[in-house]
């Protein structure tokens, strides 16, 4: 059941209405029931995978807690036992994820290298498997490290894993911030509901008006880039708009729906195209994936014994500064390799991850030199011109990475980048038909994309300046307020693409 479907909106309305009508002590069970109904709608057999992660993680966490409570003076032995249980949990769940998502990729590559003909069944990927697996494994590691206590009620834990708004495309929640909100009793709050509906509406505007219109051009150009050599720059810029509108719009819908149940989810976006460096970009884009990688891979890997030994070697060999930074850079490259693989089973995603990792690692190694150069050149870091330069530089670097993310293959990405430097012909845009409306509607379609981008840009600038746009609108007289709401409501069917023509959200594939 796609988020952009009338039946889904009806499903949410029934879930929210019932949530506040039933006795409050049953609210979390109601959410669990609706989460499982939602998940089953994608195929009842896929429930097996969700239950597998739920039960193995629940069991492993309880087991860790029992080991922790054992009366023993040998803390090392207890620590080792806990670590072994955690490793079993991690292997089972990441093993399942790897089996479903990556085995075919491995076999295709083995067949290519060894000229063999191995085959493996092509499984239907369970809905949101990357998201709920990462969320559950984060919980397991937190229990192992003593950051949170194990949940004893299996049904409550099942809700933490399956809470339906976030199941499809995140955000990847943390047990200590999310779980208690799911289990606590909530009273209906009209103000909160109004704000939640505003957010949902804004999310659909970004998705249907900006992302889905831009997607028509993106699909056409990236799918036939040799037919449109003069459009590579436009293709990647339109993809920037599409991906941000689609993913952040989807997150607004998710957070708005969660808000209807009185639940605040972690932010997943903070105006990423205003980032001043690639590091800053990853602090603003898909934030919950970035913090997950940082807490559960980057820090443990950087502080591991082999890295420690390598750090000591590097200090002796290269001196204090480089020796101190080099192990961190290597851990960072590993993390971004995982980020790339997380995005999909294809070499282009590996290149995408490595590209980001190498830029950040290089910046880390050069940090001290940059500081010295800026001092020598008297760069005023607080000047607006410097800020604009940094934002444009980062936007350029991010757009280069989007070629790898969106192109059909690495060679296509290179081909498009080459075209971007050698060909420029905006008139080719007018030869691309706007879906069933044909090329007669193309100028209007481009106008809608520009119009939606300008609105998004203005809202983003206001938010960047600390202004809460939703509160500002809510404080306006009723006529203005409803004019805004009605504009957004009517913009969806009039300016947006019909859901039947565009499919679901991009990140729901992960």
């Amino acid at each position: 059941m796609s988020f952009v479907a009338t039946e889904f909106l009806l499903f949410v309305a029934i879930a929210a209405a019932g949530y506040y009508l039933i006795p409050k002590r049953f609210q979390w069970m109601w959410l669990l029931l609706f989460s499982y109904i939602y998940y089953s709608s994608s195929g009842i057999k896929l429930l097996f995978f969700l239950l597998f992660t739920t039960l193995t993680t629940y069991g492993a966490a309880i087991w860790i807690e029992q080991v922790n409570q054992q009366q023993s003076d040998d803390k090392k032995k207890i620590g080792k036992k806990k670590r072994n249980i955690t490793i079993i949990g991690l292997l089972l769940n990441f093993g399942m994820l790897a089996l479903l998502k990556y085995v075919n990729f491995g076999i295709v590559n083995i067949n290519h290298i060894l000229h063999t003909d191995f085959t493996f069944p092509d499984f239907l990927l369970p809905l949101g498997i990357s998201f709920y697996t990462f969320q559950s494994m984060g919980y397991l590691l937190d229990v192992n490290w003593g950051k949170c206590k194990a949940e004893h009620n299996p049904f409550r834990f099942a809700l933490f894993v399956s809470f339906f708004p976030q199941l499809l495309q995140g955000p990847i929640g943390r047990f200590d911030r999310l779980a208690h909100q799911l289990y606590t009793e909530h009273s209906f709050d009209w103000e909160r509901t109004e704000r939640a509906l505003q957010l949902i509406l804004w999310g659909f505007f970004k998705k249907m008006v900006l992302a889905d219109n831009a997607g028509i051009f993106v699909d056409r150009i990236f799918g036939n880039y040799q037919t449109y050599p003069g459009l590579s720059i436009f293709a990647v810029l339109l993809y920037s708009a599409q991906l941000y509108g689609d993913f952040s719009g989807g997150m607004d819908v998710v957070m708005g729906i969660a808000d209807l149940f009185g639940i605040t989810m972690d932010d997943n976006f903070r105006r990423p195209y205003f980032a001043r460096s690639i590091t800053d970009f990853w602090h603003r884009w898909h934030i919950t994936l970035g913090t997950w990688m940082k807490d559960y891979i980057f820090y443990p890997l950087s502080l591991s014994r082999p890295m420690n030994r390598f750090g000591k070697f590097a200090r002796k060999r290269f001196g204090k500064n480089i020796g101190r930074t080099l192990p961190i850079c290597i851990a960072n490259i590993v993390v971004f390799l995982v980020v790339g693989i997380w995005h999909g089973a294809a070499w282009k995603f590996i290149v995408y991850g490595l590209y980001n990792g190498l830029i950040i690692a290089f910046s880390g190694l050069m940090a001290q030199n940059y500081r010295k150069w800026k001092q020598a050149l008297h760069v005023n870091e607080k000047a607006n011109s410097w800020m604009v330069f940094q934002i444009l530089r980062t936007f350029l670097l991010v757009n280069i990475s989007w070629f790898f993310d969106r192109a059909n293959s690495i060679s296509d990405a290179w081909g498009m980048m080459k075209n971007a430097l050698t060909h420029f012909n905006p008139t080719e845009l007018f030869a691309i038909p706007m879906g069933e409306s044909g090329i007669g509607f193309t100028p209007v379609g481009l106008g809608i994309i520009i119009f939606a981008s300008v609105i998004l840009f203005i809202v983003s600038v206001l938010q960047e300046r600390g202004i809460c746009v939703r509160s500002a609108i809510a404080a306006k007289p009723i006529v203005i307020r409803w004019a805004v709401y009605l504009f957004l409501i009517f913009a969806l069917p009039v300016l947006g693409q019909p859901p039947s023509a565009t499919g679901g959200f991009i990140y729901a594939q992960f």
């Binding site: 443990p300 502080l303 101190r324």
Partner: protein, 74 residues
């Protein structure tokens, strides 16, 4: 504490460690800086920091960092 301030100044000089209590929340210390500090704490003060210790509450101010160092030394 003096040794700790020296380490902090060396890794990230653009901060007022005497008063700032939002070193993580305001993004003054990023993950590279945090790990560099952890590396120096181990090298110079013999303190072993685990991934579970890397939480904002332990790194938001020089005092919080010093409290963590003392706790781990004890």
């Amino acid at each position: 504490m003096e040794k700790l301030l020296e380490i902090l100044e060396d890794i990230q000089p653009d901060a007022d460690y005497a008063t700032c209590t939002t070193l993580i929340d305001d993004g003054i210390l990023d993950s590279f800086a945090i790990l560099s500090i952890v590396g120096e704490l181990e090298e110079q003060l013999g303190v072993e920091v685990s991934p579970a210790d890397i939480i904002p509450a332990n790194f938001n101010s020089a005092q919080a960092l010093w409290d963590m160092v003392q706790r781990l030394q004890g």
